[in-house]
């Protein structure tokens, strides 16, 4: 239980919160907000068939934010003694230079939805039960093929309890569980040639997640091993523009980078995004409907409340190719005279909130996935990714493939060495020429970074065909 929960050592109620908010507004700020966080995390690492590390961590603190116009004052403290909290509030207050006595704040609890509620927090489960999950994944990876020479398994778990109290009277408490299992396998082939493969999954779930066959530790162990073995035969990837087919699921990272970040409202408010002033205009092929949805049950990017006390929503960002909405936090929503869209998120109490994605995906289309691959004469099939990055201003984005194949005459042929793809967001989405009916959400493994802050996110997509994207291989095609 969080120390700031009722009955805790530093129990915070509406009255005490009101006192701190009054200090925060003591210099004339327009708005103040308290963000209490208590996060307990655990991690287990198995390598060389031995549980090598058992780790645990506790993060506790309060962040105080004061707004005056578009300017933010921010301070935080790890010590929840009243004088320290008031000092943080007075520090944040200095963004405003006036004085005066603010109206007293009487915050009322906000009714929250429940998109995740694991029966039992994994942190309460005895450690030995969790170690068995690692051992199962390790055994499966090594048993897959005698050429697997190493397996590493990690299990991370956390429970984050937050309490948000705002000067406009909202009080919200949430408990956000998060688990993730990851397996990495290394294979050694002829001549000492080595390759690695990874697989993982999780979400806002309890350990019952691992009871599903597709999410069992063995499944991730075998998948990591399969990729490592498969990649032993990888050949040099081509270089230059090609037709590309994205596999369903994790390929959603392309959307996240290509259009997601550019549609975060802060960049558009500041007119630094490629999508600035393009609302209501076509920005993608009519086959594309792009959604950011914080309400997906148990997904890694889901939230019951955002980190500014607002409720998450299903936000349609691009509707049949037309730009329909940005993702808003409080500051941007006020600028655009809209309601916040439930996208105000932050890494921890030490960080200011900003517009962030939750679960970002492309809605399914009507094409049969097999027909999509069959329609490609020569191209690349992208299946697994290690990550991506975007330059918001010019729209250039990259993503790195760890498993991909050449498509020749409508069939997947040679596996390709690790390769990077580069495209331009607005340009690439106009080149989407087929969207499959086989939608899949990623199995909880992605973390998004922005301005040095990391938050867990989900991505998803059906099979997608893009007419041309630059493939950064080593083999120049004649």
């Amino acid at each position: 239980m969080a120390p700031f929960a009722s009955g805790g050592a530093f129990a915070i109620d509406a009255g005490l919160a009101g006192q701190i908010l009054a200090a925060a507004l003591g210099r004339g700020g327009d708005y103040a907000e308290l963000y209490f966080e208590y996060r307990v995390s655990g991690d287990f690492v198995m390598e060389e068939q031995r549980i090598r590390t058992v780790g645990r961590g506790v993060l506790l603190g309060l962040g105080v934010r004061v707004l005056r116009g578009d300017a933010t004052g921010y301070a935080y403290t790890e010590d929840l003694a009243l004088d320290r909290m008031l000092e943080a509030a007075r520090t944040a207050a200095q963004i405003a230079a006036g004085g005066g006595a603010p109206e007293p704040v009487r915050a009322r609890p906000v009714e929250l939805p429940s998109f995740y509620a694991p029966a039992a927090s994994s942190l309460a489960v005895p450690g030995e039960t969790k170690l068995e999950l690692l051992r199962r994944a390790d055994r499966a990876a090594r048993a897959y093929d005698p050429r697997i020479i190493r397996a590493e398994v990690t299990l991370s778990e956390e429970i984050k309890e937050i309490l948000i109290v705002t000067s406009d009277g909202r009080l919200a408490r949430d408990r956000q569980p998060l688990i993730r299992l990851g397996v990495r396998a290394v294979a050694e082939g002829p001549g000492g040639r080595r390759q690695a493969g990874s697989s993982g999954g999780g979400g806002r779930l309890g350990l019952d997640y691992f009871d599903q066959p597709a999410a069992a530790p063995e499944a991730h162990g075998r998948e990591a091993a399969r990729i490592a073995i498969q990649m032993l035969d990888a050949v040099e990837a081509p270089a230059g523009e090609m037709e590309v087919v994205l596999a369903p699921g994790d390929s959603g990272i392309l959307l996240h980078e290509a259009v997601g970040h550019g549609l975060e409202a802060d960049f558009n408010r500041k007119k630094t995004s490629n999508y600035t002033d393009r609302m209501g205009r076509p920005v993608a092929s009519a086959l594309c409907t792009v959604v950011d949805d914080g309400t997906v049950g148990k997904s890694r990017g889901s939230i019951n409340v955002d980190d500014e006390g607002n409720l998450p929503r299903r936000n349609v960002l691009i509707e049949r190719g037309v730009l329909a909405a940005y993702m808003q936090d409080r500051i941007s929503a006020r600028h655009f005279r809209l309601d916040p869209s439930g996208n105000g998120r932050r890494q921890s109490f030490r960080h200011v909130p900003m517009p962030r994605m939750t679960n970002t995906y492309l809605e399914p289309g009507t094409d049969h996935p097999e027909d999509i691959v069959r329609s490609v004469k020569r191209g690349l099939y992208a299946k697994r990714f290690s990550g991506g990055q975007v330059n918001i201003s010019n729209g250039d984005f990259v993503f790195s493939l760890t498993e991909s194949y050449l498509i020749e005459d409508g069939k997947l042929t040679a596996p390709l060495k690790d390769v990077n793809l580069i495209g331009n967001g607005p340009d690439v989405l106009t080149k989407v020429t087929a969207v499959g009916s086989d939608f899949k959400l990623s199995d909880g493994m992605w973390t998004c970074g922005k301005d040095g802050q990391s938050v867990p996110v989900g991505v998803g997509t059906p099979t997608v065909k893009i007419a041309a994207i630059t493939v950064g291989g080593t083999k120049v095609q004649k």
Binding site: E78, E152, V186, D418
Partner: protein, 459 residues
Amino acid sequence: MSAAGRDTRAELQAVAEKVVESARRAGAHAAESLVRDGSELHVKVRLGEPELVQEASSRALGLRVFSEQRAATSYTSDFTPAGIERFVRDAVAAALLSEPDPLHELPASEELARADALPELELWDEAALAVDAGAALAQARRGEAAARAADPRVTGSEGASYARVAGAVAFATSGGFAGAYRGTYSSLIVEPICDDADGKKRNGYWWTAARHLDALEDAEAVGLKAAQRTVAKLGARKPETCEAPVVFDPEAGRALLDLLFSVIAGGAIWRQSSYLVGREGSRIASDLVTVVDDPLIPRAPGSRPFDGDGLPTRRNLVVEGGVLRTYLCDLYSARKLGRRSTGSASRAIGGNPHSASSNFILQAGASKPNDIVRGVERGFYVTDMMGFGFNPVTGDFSRGAGGFWIERGELAWPVSEATLSANFDRLWQSIDAVGDDLTLRTATAGPTFRVAGMTVAGK
């Protein structure tokens, strides 16, 4: 808690020693504790107006305990006596979940750094702390204003930020080490925006950073350079796909050095997660390449007087004239590889120590950067890179890149939306020019250098 300017080293060291002692009392056979405090000031200005003023101080406590040869790590920011007591008890209990590892032992006492004779590295600057929020905002404003005034084609701004961190760290072990040090680091970054003819935005930046305030570049000079670098990108386009010589400027080249470290780190070697396994003593780069890892450079960003195992730090010659002289090891990695630590351990507040670079430097060569470009008939001058495309096991490297196309020895036109690829082994072996323009602004640093041939993918 920690106060800006107050010397908290002795206080933190006392906390660390006390936590180690509690862990011993709670049943741990050995324990190590790392305690940190810090204060931060971060301000941002955009279009002349303050956008953010963030000020706070914090501390955190980390612990690793051994029970026989079983280990657990833990951290907390809850410093209440009850919180610390529970923290220690939980860590000792958690260790019983791990499995015995014969290499889990503290270093022998004669190997430890001597806490009474730590090198004086001048990492702390009182003057840096004298900058308050108002002065920081003024610096950021000056930088941004200079960028906006420099050229009419600068049409927008991501803003300018001034940041300062100051902090102390103490480390104590039941093996007899206890030491502490502190440091400051200030930085200013300016990020202008231009509107390109095709409707695209072009962004760029320039920055300055140093442990000592007097080493920061002037805010106006930073703004001016940021504007020049951004305006130069107007009209950027894709190059044709081809094989070509590639010149990396010091900003872009740094990313390649970070990757090089990742494949010579002891942890990557014993995990067989490096294409350089078994290559010590052999050629891994062209003879123009000499790389040192030196934690003892006064005032440098990556300096440290002792390492994350409590061992003395030292200058390590890593690559000499292209020959890999040593992997960089923390104690555990060294034991795995049957050798002695190179004093290269770092540890996060709640983690195991791991091999980490300090000031990881590609030594300056003899060429003038201009001459390096002039020697290229047709090639790519890279100023920025994007993405994470690197497989350490195979060395396959493929990343997004931007910069300028070189024609007949001149930077002819700006490039964006290109990728660069090569096998890392071949890349380092084919470096055919190293510049003399080395500066130690960042912990990983190198001068301009040129790779004889890489695949550039574009149209």
